[in-house]
């Protein structure tokens, strides 16, 4: 029918701009961090000849020496230092070896023996192995560093002790998110209850407070906590004046400060979904339960509370997912031992422009968020089936 064709054409034109913008500004960047995480262009381009040599599974021989020397001659000293820095992350001393070899590249006889004569380290296979691993166009270097999972030298994979630092940080990220979620639910439940069931005045006041808090920027609310919790800050001052403590407590730049501030910042996200669910529960249900002989506590536990679990699940899930990606609040209120995955991602970019590591850790964080979302969807599906009695 002509109307349908008309529809399609109109839809297509309307969607061109948004789709192009999303593709260029959002999807493409996300995809690029996917490829960045295994991309080794920086090194494989500089060592193109050596990369080609190893690409044919050739051994470390004179031809390898020729390729290495030619590659080094093709770079300027900044390139060599930069490449050396990256190898140095795997093997200490590589940076100086590469810089020294590079400077003399023109004078070194282009054989393996010539190289070994210049520096005996070129006679040891371990140095070549680093090169072999790291000049290919695709690298698992970042992934191995982020997960700690490496070849164990016996054909298998394993995590060497001390290499699991980012896995520990991932666990820490989940633990903090979990603590914050629990606290927001505990503190938020009575507030949501009051908005749904309180007297008109209580409702208005609490709702206003929740909405104001919701729309006040995270940074502003974190600022308040920084001011409150400092060593010479408001809270310590109050506690000392009240005689509860004699010396200021360390309230900030530790786990306490991080969790408290994050709980405050995320509290509205837990309250709003619970509130929306509680508003749909008719007051008559509670009255009915009371008239049937149940006391207020029993009525709450058996009639009201079970119906609010759906809201708590949505609120808790939202808080958890948001908390996983938190950066600003822990950065301002946490100590070195309280930083979450986001902090290290930002750090890799800000300090070392190490896009590879930043990308791998980003993927790790993204995967965690998506996993939690999928679990949330699954739970909703299952709960939905149960309600339908299937």
């Amino acid at each position: 029918m002509s109307g349908t064709r008309h529809n399609l054409a109109a839809k297509a034109t309307l969607l061109i701009l948004p789709l192009v913008m999303y593709a260029a500004l959002y999807l493409l960047p996300l995809i690029s961090i996917g490829s960045l995480s295994v991309d080794n262009g920086e090194l494989s381009d500089r060592f193109s000849r050596l990369s080609a040599h190893f690409g044919t599974d050739a051994p470390v021989d004179d031809a390898a020496a020729v390729a290495l020397l030619a590659d080094l001659q093709g770079m300027d000293s900044r390139d060599r230092a930069e490449a050396g820095r990256m190898f140095n992350q795997e093997k200490q001393g590589f940076r100086s070896l590469l810089i020294d070899t590079g400077k003399a590249a023109g004078d070194i006889p282009p054989t393996l023996d010539g190289l070994t004569a210049f520096d005996p380290r070129w006679g040891e296979p371990s140095w070549w192995e680093v090169l072999e691993r790291n000049v290919e166009p695709v690298t698992w270097r970042h992934v191995q560093k982020a997960t700690g999972i490496k070849p164990d030298g016996q054909g298998g994979f394993g995590i060497a002790p001390g290499d699991d630092i980012y896995l520990r940080i991932l666990v820490r990220t989940f633990v903090i998110a979990g603590q914050v979620t629990l606290l927001t639910l505990l503190l938020g439940y009575p507030l949501a209850y009051a908005v749904a069931n309180g007297t008109p005045r209580v409702r208005a006041v609490v709702l206003m407070a929740v909405l104001l808090s919701f729309w006040t920027s995270i940074l502003v609310r974190t600022t308040a906590w920084v001011v409150l919790l400092q060593t010479n800050g408001l809270l310590n001052g109050l506690l000392i004046r009240l005689g509860i403590i004699a010396e200021p407590l360390q309230l900030i730049f530790n786990r306490f400060g991080t969790v408290v501030a994050m709980t405050h910042v995320l509290l509205p996200f837990a309250i709003l979904p619970m509130m929306n669910v509680m508003r749909t529960i008719p007051a008559a249900q509670t009255d009915a339960s009371r008239s049937l002989g149940a006391g207020p506590v029993e009525t709450f536990l058996r009639v009201y509370f079970p119906q609010t679990l759906r809201g708590a699940a949505v609120g808790g899930g939202t808080v958890f997912i948001l908390a996983l990606g938190f950066y600003v609040t822990p950065a301002l209120t946490g100590g070195p031992g309280d930083q979450m995955l986001s902090y290290y991602i930002a750090d890799f970019v800000k300090k070392g422009l190490n896009w590879g590591m930043a990308s791998v850790l980003s993927l790790m964080l993204l995967a965690s968020v998506i996993l939690m979302l999928l679990i949330g969807l699954l739970v909703r599906r299952l709960a939905g089936w149960r309600r339908q009695g299937v």
Binding site: A10, K11, L14, L15, L17, P18, L19, M21, Y22, L25, P29, L30, S32, I33, L187, Y189, P190, L191, Y193, A194, G198, V206, L211, L212, S213, W215, S217, L219, V220, R221, T222, T223, A224, V226, V227, L228, Q230, N232, G233, L234, G237, H264, L267, V297, L324, G325, Y327, V328, A331, I345, A346, V349, W355, A358, S359, S362, L365, L366, V369, L373
Partner: protein, 259 residues
């Protein structure tokens, strides 16, 4: 007994929610360079500092420029996306909605890293453009959601009525759909503006020293040294949020009154 549990837990939650800002923000007027009570006297001095010393006013101007640009671009992208998605079939609508809403759930640090790298590669760097574009993507889902909500609330018969009276598709859209969905666009625009105005993380990755926004300035000075101007800026930002809520409330009342 249950009353006591209710009131105690409610008061605890309520105080936790409101006290930090209520206690800290008045320090903007404290005549002392220490952020502590008791207040030593009332002063506008710190407002003067904010208004006359760098980086605050420059950062505020940057924020306003970026937020305005992000709002316009976000409304354009999110609004068109919503209108186009409404016309799609059931599955198309599901897929398109998921795509257009998805930036909301991506951690901002991930978006920041991804955009900083990709924009650099595309040659979009320096000045306001990268920030505006990035914030447009952050705002577009909010515009999309609020326009979708208002479009879904529309009676489809109104469009048919207009068609039966001879109005072309474009004329119907302009005279019936658009005016009735206007509150959705306005709300979405507000969301997009405030999202950009408050955004720190992506901005940290994309802003050049010349396009430093107010949240970045606040973030940097918080890491640097705690001084009263910080509280003044926090107070001003809170006032912007209050204003936002008032306008939002007005908008909602107006569109409810018409139904």
């Amino acid at each position: 007994m249950s009353r006591a549990i209710y009131w105690i837990s409610l008061s605890a939650g309520f105080l936790f929610l409101v006290l930090p800002l209520l206690v800290v923000l008045p320090l903007a007027f404290n005549d002392s360079s220490f952020l502590n009570y008791p207040m030593e006297g009332f002063t506008w001095r710190w407002f003067g500092v904010v208004f006359h010393q760098p980086p605050w006013m420059a950062a505020l101007m940057n924020s306003l420029k970026v937020a305005s640009g992000a709002m316009v671009a976000g409304v354009l992208i999110g609004g068109l996306a919503a209108v186009g998605t409404m016309l799609a079939g059931r599955w198309g609508r599901l897929v398109l909605s998921a795509l257009f809403i998805s930036p909301i759930v991506i951690p901002s640090v991930v978006l920041g890293v991804a955009m900083a790298y990709a924009f650099g590669r595309m040659g979009v760097s320096g000045g306001y453009l990268p920030l505006v574009l990035a914030h447009a993507i952050l705002g577009a889902p909010l515009v999309f959601l609020s326009v979708m909500t208002s479009l879904r609330g529309l009676d489809p018969e109104l469009e048919r009525a207009a068609a039966s009276m001879g109005a072309s598709r474009w004329h119907r859209f302009r005279t019936v759909t658009l005016p009735l969905a206007a509150p959705g666009f306005l709300t979405g625009a507000l969301f997009a503006f405030i999202t950009s105005f408050d955004e720190v993380v992506v901005a940290l990755f994309l802003a050049s020293p010349q396009s430093q926004t107010l949240p970045i300035a606040l973030f940097s000075s918080l890491r640097d040294r705690l001084e009263p101007p910080i509280v003044v800026v926090a107070l001003l930002l809170s006032l912007v949020s209050c204003l936002f809520i008032v306008v939002l409330n007005r908008l909602q009342k107006r569109s409810n009154g018409r139904r």
